[in-house]
């Protein structure tokens, strides 16, 4: 596989005595839309957390653009995520007190410089996801589909190498879910952003570039 942006080898994770991820190795190429499927409890969300540097594996190694994650402390991982990674969650996870525009800017709030540029980029991203007229709406005033669009724009604010999406259509009706997936697909294509998507929605699998299935913590 050429242009590998993310890879892992022998990845293993246990919660107490429960083996959740069992010796998984995989690669993900630059610009790829990779779907990870599996039943509830199969370990797919844990795999996404490990690959995104949200938690540490017990064994194995993860490389993001060649950088091994296991050697980094939590703050180093946070900075890596700020520079190279975006996240989209099933429950949107927007900050309720911030407007759509501020939510998109949120990952870069701690950076003091280039506030004007950041705002311009956030507005542009909200325009790209079709929320040009919702800039100053609070999350409570947005529909589920709109919230997820804000979350996707937020995931892209740092111009990431890879976006991890955990059940991004899970809380949406089928029409809104389809719209969100089409948006992801369009962004993946137009912006060449790599998407690693966890879902149990079989309808989405056909539209991904590649599908990985996981069962009982193992690739199948």
């Amino acid at each position: 596989m050429s242009n590998v942006i993310l890879s892992c080898e022998g990845l293993t994770k246990r919660y107490e005595n429960l083996l959740v991820i069992d010796n998984i190795s995989l690669n993900c190429a630059q610009g790829e839309l990779l779907a990870i499927g599996g039943q509830s409890g199969s370990g797919k969300s844990t795999l996404l957390s490990l690959l995104g540097g949200l938690e540490y594996s017990d064994e194995g190694e993860i490389y993001l653009e060649g950088q091994p994650l296991s050697k980094m402390n939590e703050d180093e991982l946070a900075l890596l995520r700020r520079e190279k990674v975006g996240f989209v969650f099933q429950s949107f996870n927007l900050i309720p007190t911030l407007t759509a525009l501020e939510n998109v800017e949120f990952p870069l709030f701690p950076i003091k410089s280039a506030k004007k540029d950041m705002e311009e980029r956030a507005k542009k991203l909200l325009e790209v996801v079709g929320l040009k007229d919702r800039l100053h709406h609070l999350p409570a005033k947005l529909s589920g589909g709109e919230k997820q669009r804000v979350a996707i724009a937020r995931a892209l604010i740092n111009n990431p190498k890879i976006v991890f999406a955990d059940e991004p259509t899970g809380n949406l009706d089928s029409a809104a879910g389809e719209e969100i997936f089409q948006l992801i697909k369009r962004l993946n294509h137009e912006m060449s952003v790599t998407f690693l998507l966890v879902t149990h929605d079989e309808n989405l699998f056909d539209k991904a570039d590649r599908i990985i299935r996981i069962k009982d913590g193992r690739l199948v």
Binding site: A78, L79, R82, F87, T97, E102, P107, P110, D166
Partner: protein, 419 residues
């Protein structure tokens, strides 16, 4: 840290902000009120002296006179020699000094004849402390100036009793004095009160001739009034007691002790009360912030996920708490000020010790009350405002620091997966 985010968190989570601000405001208001009250008690105790520009009064207790005929000295105000006065000038921290010679003069047949009794005080004109301030109390006529001799100022109550007016001649131990002015002694200036004020040199001449002041030497006096460096008052008092053996020294502290009760303990009460409310406030704010962190667990998980470092999160939360603390502190100062204003309407009674009361026990005049009613001079000093603000910010910041560990325990993967 992002100010728009801070502002939104404070304004859009009103209940949480109000709880922290109220907790701090209540504590700070108590701190301000008890300290203002303690300062007011100190101020009230200083008032009897401050009203005539004095920090310290020096007298010397001695024996009761053998005979009360003619001019004599009260047993609480016996002779302080000219040499002893001179020795005070060597003490550092004494800013200004005025001396006086107060005599009880019995010009009648015997001492019980209060109709012929007069309290005469020799003053150094031109000074603004002690009974020398009598010129400021003029209601008729002119005052006594440096170099004057043979003239007198008469207290208005005494003048009315005796039918004396400006221009009359008044005799003390046979010496004639022209009454040049009538003075009204302010109610709180009992300590400097007298029936008659005359130039010090004239009083000293009378004392020199008085058979009942046998040890009197030229230049001796029996009252000293000092303005002194307030920061070194205790040290100065100790040096005075060395320079003038058996000296009776009166300062604001003497009045505090005389007031007694809560007033005497007000400073200790303020310190203990302040510490107690600050600790209480710390507990309330720590609890509130801990609750906030639990409430914002998901939000903190999002921060971590999207790339906020621990320091970024700390800065954000500490800034929020800092601003809440400042608002709480300012509100507390305002509330404390209102409480202090209400307390400022109170009056306390400051007892006057017998030895600084110029009036003999057998003579009760309008000015011879034995206690002074003093309004509590409540004010909020800039120092107290500064302390209150620092305390409020310290509570907030310390509370935030005490809760930082719980932020470290939040794992984004757990929070975001199961919320």
């Amino acid at each position: 840290m992002h100010f728009a985010y801070v502002k939104n968190e404070l304004l859009k989570r009103k209940r949480r902000s109000a709880f922290v601000i109220t907790g701090i405001a209540l504590s700070i208001s108590v701190l301000v009120a008890v300290n203002a009250l303690a300062d007011a008690f100190m101020g009230a105790a200083q008032k009897p002296l401050q009203d005539f520009g004095t920090d310290i009064i020096i007298q010397r207790n001695g024996d009761t006179p053998d005979d009360f005929g003619g001019a004599t000295l009260p047993c609480s105000q016996v002779i302080i020699t000219a040499q002893e006065v001179e020795s005070l000038k060597k003490i550092n921290g004494i800013k200004q000094m005025s001396t006086a010679l107060l005599m009880w003069v019995f010009d009648g047949e015997d001492y019980s004849d209060s109709g012929s009794f007069v309290i005469a005080t020799g003053i150094e004109p031109g000074l603004k402390l002690g009974p020398s301030i009598a010129n400021d109390w003029l209601i008729d006529g002119t005052g006594i100036n440096p170099g004057n001799a043979g003239i007198a100022l008469i207290d208005s109550v005494f003048a009315e009793q005796k039918g004396i007016k400006a221009g009359d001649t008044f005799k003390i131990s046979g010496y004639p004095f022209e009454v040049v002015g009538i003075v009204r002694t302010p109610p709180n200036s009992l300590i400097s009160a007298s029936n008659v004020f005359i130039p010090l040199e004239d009083a000293q001449n009378i004392a020199l001739e008085a058979k009942n002041i046998p040890d009197y030497k030229p230049g001796d006096i029996n009252e000293i009034f000092l303005q002194a460096d307030p920061d070194n008052l205790n040290e100065i008092i100790n040096e005075i007691k060395t320079a003038i053996p058996k000296a009776s020294v009166t300062s604001a502290e003497s009045f505090i002790q005389a007031i007694g009760g809560i007033a005497a303990q007000s400073r200790n009460f303020a310190v203990i009360g302040s510490i107690a409310v600050l600790l209480f406030s710390l507990v309330v704010v720590v609890k509130t912030i801990s609750g906030n962190i639990m409430e914002r667990r998901n939000e903190i998980g999002i921060m971590k996920t999207v790339g906020w470092t621990s320091n970024d999160i700390y800065r954000q939360l500490i800034t929020e708490t800092f601003i809440q603390s400042l608002i709480g502190g300012a509100a507390g100062i305002g509330i404390g000020f209102l409480i202090a204003l209400a307390l400022g309407r109170l009056q306390i009674s400051v007892p006057v010790a017998w030895d600084i009361d110029p009036f003999p026990h057998f003579m009760m005049t309008d000015t011879s009350q034995k206690a002074l009613d003093v309004g509590l001079p409540v004010q909020i000093s800039s120092g107290l405002v500064g302390i209150a603000l620092v305390a409020s910010v310290a509570i907030g910041t310390l509370s935030a620091f005490l809760t930082l560990k719980s932020i470290n325990r939040i794992k984004p993967s757990e929070v975001l997966r199961y919320e």
